[in-house]
Symmetry: C2
Subunit: 353 residues, 2 copies
Amino acid sequence: MTNKLADIISQIQPIDPAWRAKAQARLDNLTKPPGSLGRLEEVAAQYVAIREELFPLLKKKKVVVFASDHGVVAEGVSAYPPEVTFQMVYNFLRGGAGINVLARHVGAAVEVVDIGVNHEFQEAPGLISRKVAPGSRNLAREAAMSQDQALAAIMVGVERAQAALDEGVDALAAGDMGIGNTTPAAALAAVFTGRPPAEVTGRGTGIDDAALNHKVAVIQRALDLHCPDPQDPLAVLAQVGGLEIAGICGLILGAATGRRPLLLDGFIATAGALVAAALAPAATGYLIAAHRSVEPGHRIMQEHLGLKPLLDLDLRLGEGTGAALGFGLLEAGLKIYAEMATFAEAGVSEKEA
Amino acid sequence: MTNKLADIISQIQPIDPAWRAKAQARLDNLTKPPGSLGRLEEVAAQYVAIREELFPLLKKKKVVVFASDHGVVAEGVSAYPPEVTFQMVYNFLRGGAGINVLARHVGAAVEVVDIGVNHEFQEAPGLISRKVAPGSRNLAREAAMSQDQALAAIMVGVERAQAALDEGVDALAAGDMGIGNTTPAAALAAVFTGRPPAEVTGRGTGIDDAALNHKVAVIQRALDLHCPDPQDPLAVLAQVGGLEIAGICGLILGAATGRRPLLLDGFIATAGALVAAALAPAATGYLIAAHRSVEPGHRIMQEHLGLKPLLDLDLRLGEGTGAALGFGLLEAGLKIYAEMATFAEAGVSEKEA
């Protein structure tokens, strides 16, 4: 691992449970039975502990969508043609995609980062151009990228987190766009959770049974080829990962160094979290699992990370759409924490002994 | 059943699946894999079918909180003293309760209806005074109310739905406040689902094991005393119900007659839905189960009604808090439906054959 990455990782502090306890003490004084707002109370206390302030604000929210292409689409693992990646980037920039709609709904900004799209964008105002390579290589036949490229893509994510912090962003979300990217995500899930490909591989955008069996076989072939070692996360990322997954990993590390929560979207974003957690276990304290995807491997990933999703709405779009919805719930929890009356303020009797 | 109630029920039309199909056809044309926004797509299509308009607005949202007291608290079934009911009504009116915070978060109005609180409210601006009785009687020893009172309380709910419609409200939510009210709700669950009290009774605001066993025994005693007949829902409501539960039942019927969705909160609101569905099965098409409560009987009720909750956040506060969060998701689904670009508009390639 290089010095730059080691330096970022060394700045990540574990969450202090004393701050959670301080937040819970206030929550228990509010006019409701203790704990009766369940997960809303938990995320509020987590946010207080992340920010280490008794009444932290949550104003500016941003979803960073990393887009890249995947050489493994040559194996026929996706229901959509690869040009959809760049077409959807234009859709994001024009505001017509799912993530644009849901980010507007929760009052979050959307930033789109070309970290590896196989397309030369013309007239794409708003696009953050950080192309590390025009897509990954075919992980079933060779390493998806070099370790230098993997590192460069992680550092793009770190940089975007730091740019967001400089703008005063209070909470970040990670999203993805990349036709074919459930294949590297499933491969990473298999490596880091130790489960066989068949258990962590799903239908992505909607392949049929035959294509699903083929996708599992492609992933198994990649694992047999690379023999990835989960103790060397950067090497694993280079062997079977993807550029947008590396960017998400970096965004997580950058958010954690800056003491900001990172709302995780679905299967792809959580694959990035597996790499981030392998590099820096303390980073998981800054993660909020916004939802549980339809992809069967998502539950396995979340359990491995010790994360419980807020939503379970049968989503499988990616882009950060589930994470955007999570912002609404995090904000709800914080408003409960900050705005509800206490028993004393409201003159309400407490629980009988 | 009286003519007034029969008249309301006769106005409720079943949801037309052709409208759902029209909505789904548009959803399938948007720039995302078909069905990939899961439950958000389902609630959007349900809303279109309820409103029977291709692009229905969702602007005005209202939570109606019905408050009442319960004679059964004399049996020691609650962790909180009964005066908390009226104290919390004041808290609602001052804006300091959980429902106030979450309704503000989603841009919904809150209306508080005294339908049976055992307290004479002084200086309570904003309170809708519709007291049918100063609380129910002790259902473990006698009928909770007369059938005339049950009917009057239902008609209060119908009237509040109609008042909301007159104000141009697009979607309603039902909430409750009433110390002791998980006991009648569990009794109603036992009657309408046919399950034994031990399976549908929970800890409410937080009673211990001994009190829980006692609560189950109290409910069993009530069932043995009244022998409620689920074929006669109004009689069941009078025997083992509560005034706020009757109000919620009426709000559901009124929303359905006016073709407006009703977001159901937790255990108490869903007990009202059991009565409404027994009176008018077509009303269930207008219900959106916003969340699944910690109360173990809630899942059983929802399965009986064929409702799948949007959220599962370990909530157990009531007041309409879970329903308010549901407004946020319904609105997200409708914005997806109305605002996302189609494949043709965005120039994005469709799925390969």
